[in-house]
């Protein structure tokens, strides 16, 4: 840091630190203490049956990195993200833009699109299981097909991705609507007077001015998709033959750390995932500087 700061800079630095203090202190206590704990555990063999932990160095890392299961789940997670992130964002953006205009029933639509977020997870799981059911499922009945939507290795990941997109649309849409609200209406008025049509307005005003929000959603959804867990938790059983080709890395972590009680191995999986997401985030942050519009 610079040694000579003007009084103005000094006051900014002082207030800046003061403003982030509550959040940072909270995060350190609530989240970073557990994270460091996890880092430590990844070097340990956790003691079963009350026998205490033993330090094993990098043994867990060696096991995790040489297991094909790890790489398979990482690849599953990436495939899932490749469906959920782009489709979830594009559909939500279109809906948000449509709902930002003055149209009949706007607030009713907004409420309806919000409903999946508060709906009981058990109901969501039931509906999708029914839709995908091979014998009685709506999809197979309507299309007269006989597809095993969630137990066929080749398509199960797509079926799971579709549920992912469906459940995230409302979430992305709320964020997009929030971002759209902050674009001053005068811009559109000026553009209308200039004779720009809806599409022109969308690409010349909405897209650039919304880019910070869009980037935020892309960044948080990539992280969210790569740490996906609940979906598989709800829909996939242990007996499902396609499980190996669908399970995400967090699901694998849960199986090891919670179900099997092997916390050291689970912690190592978290570390591998963290490293992977950090690389992607770093790349994204570089992209942000070039793409995102700041006034």
């Amino acid at each position: 840091m610079k040694k000579h700061m003007s009084p103005k800079e000094k006051s900014e630095a002082k207030w800046g630190l003061l403003f982030v203090a509550p959040t940072m202190i909270g995060l350190i206590i609530l989240n970073f203490y557990p994270i460091f704990n996890t880092v430590y555990q990844s070097f340990c063999k956790t003691g079963d049956f009350g026998r205490g932990n033993t330090f094993v160095g990098l043994a867990n890392y060696q096991k995790v990195l040489t297991a094909t299961e790890t790489w398979q789940s990482l690849w599953n997670t990436i495939k899932y993200a490749l469906i959920e992130v782009p489709f979830g964002i594009i559909i939500a953006l279109i809906l948000a833009v449509l709902l930002n205009k003055k149209i009949a029933g706007r607030s009713v639509y907004r409420t309806i699109f919000f409903l999946p977020m508060v709906c009981a997870p058990a109901a969501v799981a039931m509906v999708w299981k029914w839709l995908y059911n091979t014998q009685f499922g709506l999809l197979n009945n309507v299309f007269h097909t006989n597809v095993a939507w969630i137990s066929d290795k080749r398509i199960a990941w797509i079926s799971i991705g579709i549920i992912g997109v469906w459940s995230i649309i409302g979430y992305n849409m709320v964020l997009f609507i929030g971002g759209l609200q902050e674009i001053p209406g005068d811009y559109y008025e000026a553009a209308s007077i200039d004779g720009a049509n809806g599409f022109r307005q969308f690409f010349s005003i909405t897209v650039p001015l919304l880019s910070p929000t869009t980037f935020f959603i892309v960044q948080t959804r990539i992280i969210g998709a790569l740490t996906v867990f609940d979906l598989m938790f709800m829909v996939m059983d242990k007996t499902n033959v396609a499980l190996k080709n669908v399970q995400s890395i967090v699901y694998l972590f849960y199986q090891y750390a919670f179900t099997n009680g092997n916390k050291g191995y689970g912690a190592t999986l978290v570390m591998v995932l963290l490293a992977f997401i950090m690389i992607i985030t770093f790349v994204l942050q570089q992209v942000e500087k070039k793409v995102v519009y700041h006034n």
């Binding site: 956790t46 919670f258 179900t259």
Partner: protein
Amino acid sequence: MSGSGGRMQHWLQAEKEKMRDMSVRQKISYILTYYWLYIAGILTAVILIVFFIHRMFFSIKDFWFYGMFANTMENGGNESDLWYDFVDYADFDTTQKKVEMNSRTFFDPTVSGGTNNSYYQAFVALVESGDLDTVVMGTEALKGIGSSGRLLDLSDEKCADLMKKYSDRIITCIPYDEEYSEESVPVGIDVSDSLLCTKYHLYEEDCALGISAYTDRIESVETFLDFLFSEEEGSTDNG
């Protein structure tokens, strides 16, 4: 610091100056309009601090006993008949430490996806924090939990007494992690014919009790087991 103190004084004087000609009512409304945020902040802080001190120093903190009864539809929770009878039997003073019973969890490692739920996560948190002492559930399910290494190995010195007393009721399981042992480890005590089933009807089929691997209240567990196998007495029914 002296600089900011001086500023404070200056500010106080300026405020006094402003309020000199106001009536009491005006003064109050002036203060409320300009400083409500600060007043609210300080009030909240004071309330929080008092609350914290009260909770941390003047209320019961430790447990006598923390038991979990999983997969039952009957009420075996706090202030149920089971709870009162046990507190009576063990003669625990609940104004000093707490007796906690939880009968609202449902998980089953023998069923596919039976541990993929929040109940199981809650159970793991309770075990690994060391708060939980015992868990009772169906015998097969308990074996599944035992395999994950979260139950105490009863051949441990700590529970030599228990081993001796209930040697004919021991339930064993094979750990998931082969590095520990490929042979079975004793993790549970069969309680199918105890008061849990005969008197409180928590379970209809086989059930067993496991001790958390992280507990340090083995004596309480022994008391609880004694209670479960105690003869039904008239006095408890009256209470």
